[in-house]
């Protein structure tokens, strides 16, 4: 079986950011479900949190390509 260890490492490392994204948007949905008026207040915070978590997933991807 051939392939690069780097991509396997990246695949494993996406457990973290994937879980984080799920948690962030679960909290956002719960907040909007309790109080629909809070939708536009919580939305920027949800997207900020998502982008910060996504950054780590993409570090993994870039480093998997760079450090073969």
């Amino acid at each position: 079986m051939t392939g690069t260890l780097a991509i396997v490492g990246f695949g494993l490392s996406t457990i973290g950011p994937g879980t984080a994204t799920g948690l962030i948007f679960a909290a956002y949905i719960s907040g909007v479900a309790r109080q629909p008026e809070a939708r536009s207040i919580l939305q920027p915070i949800a997207f900020l949190g998502f982008a910060l978590a996504e950054a780590l997933a993409l570090f993994g991807l870039v480093l998997a390509f760079v450090l073969k």
Binding site: F47, L48, E54, L58, V62
Partner: protein, 172 residues
């Protein structure tokens, strides 16, 4: 308030450069080459340090970073290295890496689906039909990329604004 021109120019600059990635004849998201996000990050980095030093004075600023006021003494052992690393290394690194990695990954995805569709098109008869899905996916991804590009420009500007506000803030 006086940083609005700077932040707005930053946002529009990053957004325009990102959108170049899906304009049909250009198709080159500038920020997907590591030099450009580094250049933009240097602006942010110098700005928030300069603003803090101009407001608080150099030695007081260094003391504030290393020994944040209002924290019990033994915690400084762990806190000082972490804070120093954050202020000097982690913030610019993550700012530039976030922008670079998002644009790089998006461009890579678009390339995969477009080139894959073209490869399927030059293969057997059944695979020619599948290339339709590949191209369709590439089109869908282009719109998704538009959203991600706007989001990344917004995040960069928001974080810069946050760092500047933190630099200008008075004592906790």
């Amino acid at each position: 308030m006086r940083f609005v021109p700077f932040l707005f120019s930053l946002f529009i600059f990053i957004l325009t450069n990102n959108i170049f990635g899906i304009v049909p004849l250009i198709q080159f998201p500038t920020m997907s080459h590591i030099g450009f996000p580094i250049g933009v990050t240097i602006f942010s980095y110098v700005t928030y340090h300069y603003v803090a030093i101009k407001k608080h004075g150099f030695s007081k600023y260094v003391k504030d970073i290393c020994f944040m006021p209002g924290i019990p003494k033994p915690v400084y052992l762990i806190l000082t290295p972490v804070e120093l690393l954050t202020y000097l290394v982690t913030r610019p690194l993550t700012l530039s890496m976030r922008l670079f990695a998002n644009m790089f990954a998006g461009h890579l995805l678009l390339l995969v689906f477009t080139l894959g569709g073209e490869y399927l098109l030059t293969s057997g008869l059944i695979l020619k039909f599948l290339s339709l899905f590949s191209f369709g996916f590439a089109i869908g991804l282009s719109f998704f990329e538009l959203g991600i590009q706007a989001l990344q420009a917004y995040i960069f500007t928001l974080l810069t604004a946050l760092y500047i506000a933190g630099a200008l803030a008075d004592e906790h």
